[in-house]
Symmetry: D2
Subunit: 267 residues, 4 copies
């Protein structure tokens, strides 16, 4: 019924890019139009991801790739420094951008929205394509209205550099925006080991666990008289973002203008 959507993948040999290539090659509703990458030019995109040859070879020329293959959608999980330029090129070619990159300024977003409007196409910038993570954050925000006592515990691999994680900070902001002001805990509390009570944010605490084997997990725990409510999301691998990417690719065909945040598609 629905027609196949032709997709160009930018940064196709990157860790996320390879997952996107796999998704597009394996999903009958999607077709790989082009695979762009700085290195590996000439490699078959199927071979690249451990699938049979698909006939689409890696290229490093994004403009030519768009001109020749005329994709309907571009998926880009590269880096902030190139993301704006890629998006502009795509829109100019009438290719709808689906950007899994952070770091756009509000001015850039406004500008790109205007370009999408002018061209009559849709676009999407989404820092997080995980449906489960988005639901976790939404539920945490809702629960905080009714159960204001809360702590966040997040788990990532032991080589991660920053703590807390971006998702934990985003969740904390949503909680703070939705609950009554509250300084939790005993005012005379004392740490016999410094830091054991975690990071302080707006009256509550965030704990960052770092262990090998973990990809990304987060637990938001609410406590009240005689009860606890926990919302936990476990991400096991990059592939977990692909159902969200597919929704993004499909949705971007249906509207005009640039949308920021994948949660707009999760009603």
């Amino acid at each position: 019924m629905s027609e196949v959507i032709r997709v160009a993948v930018i940064g196709a040999a990157g860790r996320m890019g390879r997952e996107v290539v796999k998704l597009v090659l394996q999903d009958p509703e999607l077709e790989l139009a082009a695979a762009v990458n700085r290195s590996g030019v000439g490699t078959d995109a199927g071979t690249l991801v451990g699938l049979p040859e698909c006939g689409v070879l890696l290229t490093d020329d994004i403009e030519m790739a768009f001109a020749e293959t005329k994709p309907q959608v571009m998926v880009d999980f590269t880096v902030p420094q190139y993301a704006f330029a890629h998006t502009e090129i795509a829109i100019r070619h009438g290719v709808r951008p689906v950007m899994g990159v952070t770091g756009f300024t509000p001015e850039q977003i406004e500008q790109l929205d205007k370009q999408c409007q002018d061209k009559g196409i849709g676009g999407l910038i989404a820092p997080n394509f995980s449906i489960g993570a988005i639901l976790m954050m939404r539920f945490a925000a809702q629960a905080a209205k009714h159960m204001p006592n809360v702590e966040i515990i997040e788990y990532h691999g032991d080589q991660k550099l920053d703590a807390p994680s971006g998702t934990a900070i985003k969740t904390a902001e949503l909680i703070a925006a939705n609950r009554e002001e509250l300084r939790q805990g005993n005012p005379n509390e004392e740490e016999t080991i410094e830091g054991s009570r975690g990071g302080y944010y707006n009256g509550f605490r965030i704990h960052s666990v770092r262990l090998p084997g973990v990809f990304a997990q987060q637990e938001v725990v609410f406590g009240d008289f005689g009860q606890s409510l926990k919302i936990r999301h476990d991400s096991y691998e990059r592939a977990g973002y692909m159902p969200g990417v597919k929704i993004g690719v499909q949705k971007v065909m249906e509207y005009t203008g640039l949308i920021y945040g994948f949660d707009h598609f999760i009603d």
Copy 2:
């Protein structure tokens, strides 16, 4: 600012009734007007619950108690067979009923609603006063729209007679009403130990764990490509329902007519 609300507790010596008496005696915004119970007539309600004497003695005459003490709200956690009669008596005396009892028929609810309307008072019938349990069910229903693969695991004490629990069944109904039709799992699945895959409900499974020490816990687990989302509620003791009871007592002062379901107060 807000005036103290005068509360009558019916079934005051029951397990939930005692918690309600404690709540009312210890909360400065509430006042114990009367404590009704079939047995123990003459016992001080404070003594009954391990608090200092409060001067309110148990009585078994609900009509006289209402006539003499003129409570504003009645809280009743007794049994289905008396609940309708108690509610009618309360409304007749202008006492707002807050009923933690199940088993009202739709006709009875309609009738009591009319009586509340006629008398110009509010009333509440709520099978579940646990804020956390209500949020868990709501989040489970919302998540089922986006992550249709789900199973429910519920934990109760090892002497519980029925499985699954009422909350699990209610949650399952909400999930079924919100997700696309789906028969989960491998169609050729085989149980080498019968029952190990749990109880089948509308395409998914419910598991009932029974262990000593557990009061009431439930975990709703959603699975998708590369990720899991879990919503877990732990109820540790009856006292956990009291914050919800207090909200019920306060809310019932503010409207006219009978409301069914505590979730109407959790926006």
Copy 3:
């Protein structure tokens, strides 16, 4: 078959003392010989704990109670400052001490052991009577030998003053004693919110969560390539210590000398 053991409860009106009184009154293998408490003298011990009258009245004279009722075992959950004196009195009267109090010095323990030996009776000092907590600590120590990457997350009520909990520190010591030396995590790790990585202990981290409704919970999480192992203990209420107390009361009848640590009875 086994004879009933006659027990004296010291600090009978305290929070733990009341649980012990309940245990002794409700267990057919135990008999309440005496109930000692500074206040409430003359109150029936059964009434004190919400059970029928038992005929044993609270007294504040421990020496006279021992002399008159000749208990076989004393259970004492009072405070460090009196614990040593109580233990000496008990031994002098030939009453086997079961002490749920911390704070004994090594010298005191040696002294009391000698007194027990001389009198030919057994004695027990145990900071923790929870079978589950002891198993959790033991398993954590064993696992640390094979999976050295670990973090501890402990949960207590939001009014607790100290962090981490005593159990968390004890667990951390056991882990450190059993695993190879290891400084976990990325050496260049940075906290954008101070304390978010938790308290540092011997190369790993401890996180203390404080929320209303929680009694005492602890999770020890081990991570390795592609896997996690979690050992979690949930204590829901003081009554959870009573099966351990009963084992202590029974065991202390069977040996001579003072034993420190309940884990000696858990093989």
Copy 4:
């Protein structure tokens, strides 16, 4: 200090075989001597697993591979039907077998043990190389002695055919062998949805959850008066077995005869 161990991988292109090849190529203490597989002959083993070329090409002739490359250890994760023959060939060539295959009969094990003894080499047959899973089973068995009330909840992918999992059944056997006989739960318990109480095994229950995204997880929950103890193991991917495989490869160099079960190396 320790010399590099030369390893032959049988079934090198299989799902587990590829992980073993990766392990051997990336670990400086191991060296890939040969990679045997029925298909893909001539492919470089490095290329096969997404690593740089390593110079070892796939071969389908196990005898010749052993004769030419003289490996010290063979790792074999193929299928039961060939496992016995492979093991005999290896021993004949003086190659120590490390077998991740089930289905050996007691007679076969005895026979292979004798062959290893005669040849003066070590051998290992292990149905499970996951250190965490072995610890989970061991702790479950130990806990069952002291907390006999228990249920098992295991989680696997939604396409798995059999329930309960092999690990769950193995765990259940260990629990049953270690606890007092006990028929848990309320004798008058009733299932309103058939199967909701799970599979019955020796007095307790096993629950099998099947959800997409899950690789292999198991939780063993013990309940007692006022407390719960949980032991949970999460396996995220096949790579999680590799630390165990490496231990097996190292250990098999140090003894003579055939050992059955990886748990012998976990003290």
